[in-house]
Amino acid sequence: MIDLWWLMPLAAGLLLALIAGPLGSFVVWRRMAFFGDTLAHGALLGITLGVLTDINLTLALILGSLLLALLLVPLEQRARLSSDTLLGIVSHSTLAIGLVTLSLTQGIRVDLMGYLFGDLLAVQTADVLWIAGAGAILLGLLIWQWQALLAITVSPELAAIDGYPVQRLKLLLLLMLAVLVALAMKVVGILLVSALLIIPPAIARASARSPLQMAVLASVSGMLAVLIGMWASFHWDTPAGPSVVVAATTLFVASLLLQPWLSRRAG
């Protein structure tokens, strides 16, 4: 029988790229890129929490991310410029605190490199099930609230007058982002999570004519990047997470070069 061990990592990568497409599009539209970064850095605290309390690491990651997202809500409400510095402080201090605490926990070895840069090939069936389960919920929520989320992104004021619960929708988006970041950490790692969120929508922007098109194209290009990246990783024995990001970046540069042609077709 053929060895199919690579199926699980591939499934995990593709599923993540699928969800990251629409959520990443919102990150780009709402200028939340730095926010995703902060969540990812802070997620290391979730790992520490998991190691210390001995609960499931994926669950600990998700809980840690959600908690951090809730703490960051007041920041998101404020003017974006002034919160930059504060986000930076939170982002890097949580990363540092996580690293320090982890090093202090005696007798437990955590594959730190794996969390910083991802370890796609170490993904197991349980991880895929986590990603598939949580991902299904995220996608379901996105489809269910698509119109409302778009409305508050285009104009929170008009959405409020239309009767949308703007604050609750913002919170929903933030929490969804937190869950995705937690799930993606194992695959691409803390330092590259934002790349998975931002590069695919950037690729999609060149040829998309509507928000929905952009989200779908972002999913497709993200999944393409996963396929190419993983193939390259096997072929040249490079680390899988960074290879996926390099593949995505290559696709992005290609989309830039093709942009005149694409926009002529779209227009």
Binding site: Q147, V154, E157, L158, I161, R209, P211, M214
Partner: protein, 261 residues
């Protein structure tokens, strides 16, 4: 509350950083009434609008809206992020309860059907204002709120938009609350004018307001009534606070602009 009124505001006061933005403002809006808020930059027009819409809260005072009141709001400006690809049609569909039929109807009514498939990022100022107006009309509002509806619109377009407003009122049977810089432009289309400078300087029928000493104090006397000739004129004439016995701690309005009015 007056039983027929669409919206009634009593004694609204809002302070920001020791400056009184809204000072004891009361107003009542009746069905089918067209009310215009007028005043210098930074006088609290847009803030008052936002408060009446429920987008901002006041420190004291009370607002009562008729239950089930549908509001259509056309903001002063709305800039969309270039990174979101969006057509005019797509933008309008985001309005809650908008149907393809109502979108088509209002696009036709404002003569901008051709814009529907275009990207919102490619529109001129005037085109975008019309799209925003369509967006406000889609909910079949009982109250249409227009914040500086002619901003970025050329002279011809300004006249057309102001002529349109009473027509829309008749077609929808709605009340209109709008903000304007220039009384003389909106005079013909307005039932009541409220001249605002933190507090209500004066209010009433446009003909009366235009000869009211408080109004003249604020905007200067206009030798002729041709509109547009003095569009920026009124910036030189802001000595409202205290000038007519109103000891409000208001900073000079033009300098003290808190919001972009």
């Amino acid at each position: 509350m007056n039983t027929t009124a669409l919206l009634q505001a009593d004694h609204l006061t809002l302070k920001r950083q020791h400056k009184t933005v809204l000072d004891n403002i009361s107003l009542t809006l009746q069905p089918r009434q067209i009310m215009t808020l007028i005043g210098p930059n930074g006088c609290g027009k847009s803030t008052l609008i936002r408060v009446l819409l429920g987008l901002e809260t006041v420190d004291s005072g009370h607002i009562e809206r008729r239950p089930g009141l549908r509001i259509g709001y056309m903001p002063q400006r709305l800039s969309l992020d270039q990174r979101m690809p969006l057509t005019v049609q797509g933008f309008l569909q985001l309005s809650r309860g908008a149907t393809a039929a109502t979108i088509q109807h209002w696009l036709q009514r404002l003569n901008i059907t051709a814009l529907a498939p275009q990207s919102v990022h490619d529109l001129s100022g005037g085109e975008w204002q019309r799209v925003l107006l369509v967006r406000a009309l889609l909910s079949q509002p009982d109250l249409l709120v227009l914040d500086e509806p002619v901003q970025g619109v050329d002279v011809q377009g300004q006249m057309e938009l102001y002529q349109l407003i009473p027509q829309l009122r008749d077609e929808l049977g709605c009340a209109v609350l709008m903000v304007s810089h220039d009384l003389h432009l909106v005079m013909a289309a307005t039932d009541e004018v409220i001249c605002l400078n933190g507090h209500v300087c004066c209010s009433g029928h446009p003909d009366q307001v235009s000869i009211n000493p408080a109004y003249i104090q604020l905007f200067g006397i206009r030798p002729d009534k041709t509109p547009l000739a003095h569009y920026t004129h009124h910036h030189d004439h802001q000595h409202c606070a205290g000038d007519h016995g109103h000891a409000s701690p208001l900073a000079p309005p033009a300098i003290g602009g808190i919001r972009h009015d």
